[in-house]
Symmetry: C2
């Protein structure tokens, strides 16, 4: 797989293909053309073919893609064929929203552990998961071989939490705190800056 | 301004520059080099200069950027020098998280109106804003000349809400519902798909 050559925009579209194919599969659609797939996603068929070509030859000329086959391939490509242990740090509003977010479950991704600093929240449940105290962070990560840490805590604590997660063995951090954090290069880090979306809209609107 | 030529990645970095400069300004830093600015943001100085060159000649060779001047320019470029009327549809967990999100306020962006379908929530407050019933949507948008609509509602209702917002005069939609919506091309639309971040991490981790 020519991973280093795959554009980030292609990678970001893979989950969109995946969910579209899941829907088609549920509707018992067997085959879909790149044109139809593109129309459902809102991109040209040439882009669909280019995106998927980074990962192999999945379609047949004049026929299209076999939905269950492409779905299986994408599942593997996206790393969804394996189980991930995920810890969420911060059971505030955003933590609640993330743990209830329907989009993750549809993809087979589950938040397995939730930590919070507030002792009053400890023991109560967020979905199916019992909230544990943040002092348990290192134990939770080590005992469960947690792969991914989601930080939904105030910005002032983000770096400290990230350092603790990484020190305990977490290999990827998804940071929602409005603060940029720094981590060793071998750790996958994604800063999810919610304000960017809103500013981007303001930016484009102010140009009209 | 060469807007059509500006890469999306440059536009997405502008708010990051802006917040970094706000911080420097509060620290009474008068001048910053592209190297120092890049280091704070985590990108090379050449990229800083390239990004800002799309909007004008702000720096002085061998000196750097005057922080208050660049801040003022960026504020205008980002559309933050004007007031935006913003309505949030959906006062669930995500709605709560968005309306409390510190990052917006720091940028001078405020959610002015909140709507929800649940009559029990109507009249209670989300921050400083009283929740109104979703039946008031058209009136709220028209009476207040609302510019931007944020959808934090279940996916099944997203398209309907978006259509109502646009019909009432909203010019930009920020959609958090896990469903892709379609709108006329003149409307700015941003689908914020939260699962993409998590899948992107799984994707990269599965390659290690």
């Amino acid at each position: 797989m020519k991973d280093a050559m795959t554009p980030a925009t292609t990678i970001e579209r893979l989950p969109i293909y995946y969910r579209c194919l899941q829907k088609l599969d549920r509707m018992d659609v067997d085959v879909i053309s790149s044109k139809d797939l593109g129309e459902r996603i809102g991109i040209p068929s040439t882009q669909v073919r280019k995106d998927l070509s980074y990962y192999g030859e999945f379609g047949r000329r004049g026929v299209g893609y076999e939905v269950p086959v492409l779905l299986k391939h994408l599942r593997k490509i996206l790393g969804l064929a394996q189980e991930w242990e995920i810890v969420l740090v911060g059971a505030g509003d955003l933590g609640h929203a993330l743990s209830k977010y329907g989009g993750f479950k549809k993809l087979g991704l589950n938040i397995n552990h939730v930590l919070d600093v507030d002792s009053d929240k400890v023991g109560s449940k967020l979905g199916d998961v019992e909230i544990q105290h943040i002092d348990e962070l290192v134990d939770v990560v080590k005992e469960n071989n947690v792969d991914i840490g989601i930080i939904a805590a105030p910005g002032d604590y983000a770096q400290e939490i990230a350092d603790e997660l990484v020190g305990a063995g977490v290999k990827a951090i998804w940071n929602f705190a409005p603060a940029r954090i720094k981590l060793p290069p071998e750790i996958e880090l994604r800063n999810e800056d919610l304000s960017i979306g809103l500013i981007s809209l303001a930016y484009h609107l102010s140009r009209k």
